[in-house]
Symmetry: D3
Amino acid sequence: MTRYERGMKKLEEIDGQAGQAVVDGLRDIAPDFAHYLIEFPFGDIYSRPGLDLESREIATIAALTAMGTAAPQLKVHIAAGLNVGLTREQITETIMQMAVYAGFPAALNGLFAAREVFAAH
Amino acid sequence: MTRYERGMKKLEEIDGQAGQAVVDGLRDIAPDFAHYLIEFPFGDIYSRPGLDLESREIATIAALTAMGTAAPQLKVHIAAGLNVGLTREQITETIMQMAVYAGFPAALNGLFAAREVFAAH
Amino acid sequence: MTRYERGMKKLEEIDGQAGQAVVDGLRDIAPDFAHYLIEFPFGDIYSRPGLDLESREIATIAALTAMGTAAPQLKVHIAAGLNVGLTREQITETIMQMAVYAGFPAALNGLFAAREVFAAH
Amino acid sequence: MTRYERGMKKLEEIDGQAGQAVVDGLRDIAPDFAHYLIEFPFGDIYSRPGLDLESREIATIAALTAMGTAAPQLKVHIAAGLNVGLTREQITETIMQMAVYAGFPAALNGLFAAREVFAAH
Amino acid sequence: MTRYERGMKKLEEIDGQAGQAVVDGLRDIAPDFAHYLIEFPFGDIYSRPGLDLESREIATIAALTAMGTAAPQLKVHIAAGLNVGLTREQITETIMQMAVYAGFPAALNGLFAAREVFAAH
Amino acid sequence: MTRYERGMKKLEEIDGQAGQAVVDGLRDIAPDFAHYLIEFPFGDIYSRPGLDLESREIATIAALTAMGTAAPQLKVHIAAGLNVGLTREQITETIMQMAVYAGFPAALNGLFAAREVFAAH
C-alpha cells in the first residue's frame, strides 16, 4: 500500500466524505498539494501507532482552537472527532480548556464552531 | 472545599511541586494572579468531569506546541503529562502531529522541550 | 454579592446588552462556559481597582487588534470602549498604533471593524 | 518627490487601482492612516533598491499566508504578485511551501485565496 | 523639526537612553532601519495628539504581552510605562488582564518580565 | 532516488552541515520525525521546480521573521539564504519589510538574528 493509499484510507476513516471534497477543491489550483495533504498528515502521521485517533483529534481540536486562524479546518476536525468516537462533551471540554491557554475569545469562537457542526451532524 | 482548595489539590495531582513554585514566583509581583491561576484553570476547568486528565494534558501539550509562545509552560505540561500517566510515546506523537497544523519548527521546538523534560525526569 | 453577580453587573456596565446575548448564545452548547465568562473576566479581572475601565478597554482593543484572531470580540470591545467613555479618536489612535507592533494589516482590519461599530452606534 | 508621491507611484505600480480603494476606504475612519500606509510601506520600504518587486511580493505572500490573520491583504498581494510579473506557479509554490513552516491549514487557506484571485484576474 | 528629530525627542521622553541603544545596535546590520524606527513609530504615531502617552504605553504593553513573541520589546515598554508615569499596579493590571484575551501563559510571561524590569528600575 | 535521498541531497545543498545536525539532535527523542523532516520539506517541497531556491529562502525568511516563534529555524534559514546565493542585502531587505506586515518588533528580532548569523559566517 502506498503512502497515498494509506492516507486516503485513514482520511476516510476520520473524515468520511470531507477528504475527497478537499482533494476536489485543490484540483484546479494545486493538485500536487492534495497529494501531500493525503500523504504526510494522513498517510504518515495519523497512521502511526502510539496514539489513538480519539487522542489525535483532541490534539488537533485543541491546537486549531488555540491558534484561531483555521476556522474551516477546525470544523472539519470537530466533525472528525465525532466520527472517531469522541462525545460532544469531550469536544466541548477540550475547546473550553483552551480559554486557559489561548484566551476566552479563542474558546468562544471554537464553541460557536462546535455548535454549528453539532447542529449539522 | 473552595475553588482555591480544589484547584490546589488538582494542580498538585497534575504538577507535583511545580504548582507551589509558580505561586511563590508570583508572590512579589502579582499575588492575586496566583489565586486566579489556581482557581480558574485548575479549580474550575481541570476539575470538571467529561474529559480525563490524560486527554486534558494531550490538549494542552498540543496547543502550547502549536502556539510556540510559551516554552516554560509547555515544559511544565510535558512533565504533567508524564505525571498523569501519559507515556513518552503519547507525548512525542502529540507534538509530532503539530507539524501538520502549526509547521515543522513548532513541532521541532516542542520535541526539543520534551527531550529536556524527559532527561530531567 | 457572588462573583457571578458582580461579573454580570460589570459586564452590563461595559457592554450594555451584549453580555446577555453571549450568555444566551452559549446556552445550548456550553452553558457552564457562560458562567466562567461572567465570573473570571468580569467578576474577577474587570472588577479590580488599580486600572480604570477606559484603560482596560484600551488594553483589550489593542490586544485584540494585534492578535487579529477575534474579530467578533474586537467589535464588542470597540462598542464597550464607547460605552465606558472613550472617544472615537482614542479608539482609532489605539488601533492605528498597532501597525507598529503587529503590522499594517492588523491595524487596517481593526480600523474597518471600528468603522462598522461606529456606524451602528 | 515627497514620500507620499513616491509611495503612491510605487503602490500603483504594484497594485493598480487597489491602492486608491484602500485610501478611499479609510477616508471616513482614519484619513491620516491612509497617508502612513502610502508613505512607510510603499514610499519607504517597497521603494528601496536591494530587493526586486518580485522577491518583495514573494516575501509578503509567504508572510501573510503563514500568519493567517490577514485574508483581505493576502488577496491584494496575490494580485500584486501577478501585476509585478510573478507567474501563478511561483505564487502557488510560495503558498504551498508555507505548509512546512505554518502548517497545512495556513497553506490550504492561502491556496483557496489564490484560486479566488486567479479566477477574477 | 524633521520626523526623525521629532521621533528621537519623543523616544527619549518615553525610553530615556534605550532609544539610542537600539539605534546603535542596528548600525552594523541595518542603519536605515534605525531611521524608520525613529520616524514612523515615534515621529509619526506616538507624537500624535488624541491619546496620551500613559494610554499609549498601556496599549503597547497589552499587545506585546498578548502576542508573546517580543520579550525584549515588552521589557522596554514596561520600563517606558514607568517613565511616562504609569504605576506598577497599572502595569501589572494591564498584563494580568491579558490572561482573559491571550491565555494564562501569556500573562504569566508578561508578569515575569515586569518583575525583572521593576527589580532593575 | 527515494524521497529521503532526494531530501537529504537538497538539504545539504541548502544548509551544508546543519541538516545532519538536526537529524542527530532528533535521534534520541523522535528519530522518525527526522525522516519526515527530510522527506516532506526537502524531498517534496524544496525539490519542486517552479520556484528557485533563492526565492524559496526569501519566502522562508519572511515567514519565520513574521511568525516570531522560531528563532533557531530563522537563523538556519538566514545561513541557508547565504548558501544558495542571496546577498546580505537581500536578506536584510526581506526582514525589514516584515515591519510592514508583522510589526517592528518582529523585524528587529529578525535583524538581530541576521547580525548574529552574518558575524558567524
